[in-house]
Subunit: 337 residues, 2 copies
DNA sequence: CCCGGATCGGTAATCGATTGCCGAGAACCG
DNA sequence: CGGTTCTCGGCAATCGATTACCGATCCGGG
């Protein structure tokens, strides 16, 4: 078996209480005792058993995080920041992938709660159906929702202003001369997708009654983007295709290009998120950048504040997205090289 | 506070031992008692405290995993499979990102061990420097190394045959008429990169003394790919550029294309891994597919076997990669559409 | 009818830490 | 110098489960 606090106590000739105090510093101990405890602990290679400590202190130093799908790079980008930020206060991340399924999500959250996580970061996979689980979780530990807010929730939240993001894109596209638009996105079952969708509808309605040339709603995958490329080709291309996520846009772009369509000269294409690969496509993808690093950091900050009970009312941190203009919307008038 | 086993016992009018037995089924209890325990447990919404259970049973039901960088999609693809496979035996994944740093890696592994993980899955970030930490970890819990094997390690391992992978690529490129090659990869500080590198050297030497037109070694990022594109352009392009990872290849491809180079007619480009984005570039990327799903699943299987102590000797599972031919090496003779 | 063994519920020890409380001695104060 | 307060080590309770062990009951066989 591993070295326990008892072994250290015996070796140093003191009680376990003294060892605990000497090592944690939560109460002063005489310098020479502290020294011999430290030595004994060092010599024996003592590592406190975190499980035992957690049981006693009712705090595990872990934070659970549930994301819809780890293979969508948007989420890992946030996770990366979260992980780093947590590590700086010696907390450990328990990461779960809900695989886009409400049922799995529920199971994972339940499992995390059973493990006594100190807090939970959730990117819910469904606005309505995820709600009961999230609310239940929020009843027992602090929960910060990221990117999406489930229906009827009043908890902490970190995300970006999707309304602004869509507006930036549409203005940019109109500047480029586009007057008909298609929207390719996921079913607006989560708040972020819904806001983008509504913004699209409103904005195109503002332009003209006929500005919207279709709304294709599937999911946040490049396969869906590919499929929509085919559909759009069959139906006739609008001036611009706006995608609800870079992943979709990249799939669409790939299929359009393969079919011989020239982007941006034949059609303008935009994404959303600004994942790393958005700058690797050919043409590179114009998109709206969500500050994923900042989202992650801010989420942990909010959670931390909550854990230290420094805040009372629910906090919403809505960050500002920025437009990133690249080749996929380069001036149609001047087809590149 | 939450409902404890004592509350359930009191509600059902039995002892905690009976509750534990009725719920776990580890020893039979009289049917009517079992029923009332179940009811009471249900009614009160009892959730066993996993921390307490872990302390008592000396098993946490958690598996730690350390990967070099979550933002390289190759790793999430494996993580995804691991996570799913673990969930099926009710184990929880503790994921850590070592950020490509041996020091961080060491800290994370130490933290995971302190949390009493039942086992560890490690994708080490350095062949030599990571070795002591990995070996130390292996001394206290079962460890399965993935993709790379640290120096002097004799533990369990799951990966693919990089020698075969490289050979497939080179043969393919030679079929396409290439006779000069450049290799763009990460510093061969990990075993997988080293094997690919050695295979490249050997294979080009076989072709002719002058077949290798340079070896550019940096890291597994698309920025590195971009930079190498510039260098190769300055030095003059070989017939084919082989990249040690898709991420590198995509960066390279993007920069080459931006510079007006035509792939595959001017130069052939290959990647390695077959991450999802390899099929989204323009042209799509020829690469070697590593069965990431299978790697993940197999790793968990190995770990599971080890946890149930069904195996004695160290196991190595070397999976076979497959060649995936796409546009970036389409026949140079017949420039596409 | 008695005895051995099986069945099953309960008591209490246990996992390994933290911490409330007590008391011995030191320090301080008037 | 006596009394009050402080300091600090140790004992033992505690966190919430599991489980070794004990003893009561029941059953079947001889």
């Amino acid at each position: 078996m591993a070295v326990t606090i008892r072994d250290v106590a015996a070796a140093a000739g003191v009680s376990t209480a003294t060892v605990s105090r000497a090592l944690s510093g939560r109460r002063p101990v005489a310098p020479q005792l502290a020294k011999s405890v430290l030595e004994a602990s060092e010599r024996l290679g003592y590592r406190p058993n975190v499980v035992a400590r957690s049981l006693r202190t009712q705090s595990t130093g872990t934070v659970g995080m549930v994301i819809p799908r780890i293979s969508n790079p948007f989420f890992p980008a946030i996770v990366e920041a979260v992980e780093r930020e947590l590590a700086s206060d010696d907390r450990q991340l328990l990461l779960c992938d809900s695989q886009g399924s409400v049922a799995t999500e529920g199971k994972r959250i339940t499992a995390l709660l059973a493990r006594q996580v100190d807090g939970l970061l959730v990117i819910a996979c469904e606005g309505t159906a995820s709600s009961p689980t999230v609310q239940r979780a929020a009843a027992s530990v602090p929960v910060v929702q990221i990117d999406r807010l489930v229906d009827g929730s009043s908890g902490d939240y970190v995300g970006t202003d999707n309304e602004v993001g869509m507006r930036l894109l549409i203005e940019h596209l109109r500047d480029k001369g586009a007057s008909t638009f298609a929207f390719v996105s996921a079913e607006p079952t989560v708040s972020s997708a819904r806001v983008r969708f509504d913004a699209f509808r409103r904005a195109t309605a503002d332009v003209s009654p006929a500005a919207s040339r279709g709304e294709l709603l599937g999911d946040f995958t490049y396969e869906w983007g590919r499929e929509c490329a085919d559909r759009l080709l069959a139906d006739g291309l609008p001036d611009a295709v706006m995608c609800g996520a870079d992943l979709i846009a990249l799939g669409l772009l790939s299929s359009l290009t393969a079919a011989g369509v020239r982007v941006p000269s034949d059609v303008l294409v935009t994404g959303y998120d600004d994942i790393g690969f958005a700058s690797l496509s050919n043409p590179q993808l114009t998109t709206v950048r969500q500050p994923m690093e900042e989202i992650g950091v801010e989420s942990v900050r909010l959670l931390r504040a909550r854990l230290e009970s420094r805040v009372a009312s629910p906090q919403h941190r809505v960050l500002l997205p920025t437009l990133v203009v690249r080749g996929s919307t380069a001036s149609a008038a001047t087809p590149s090289t």
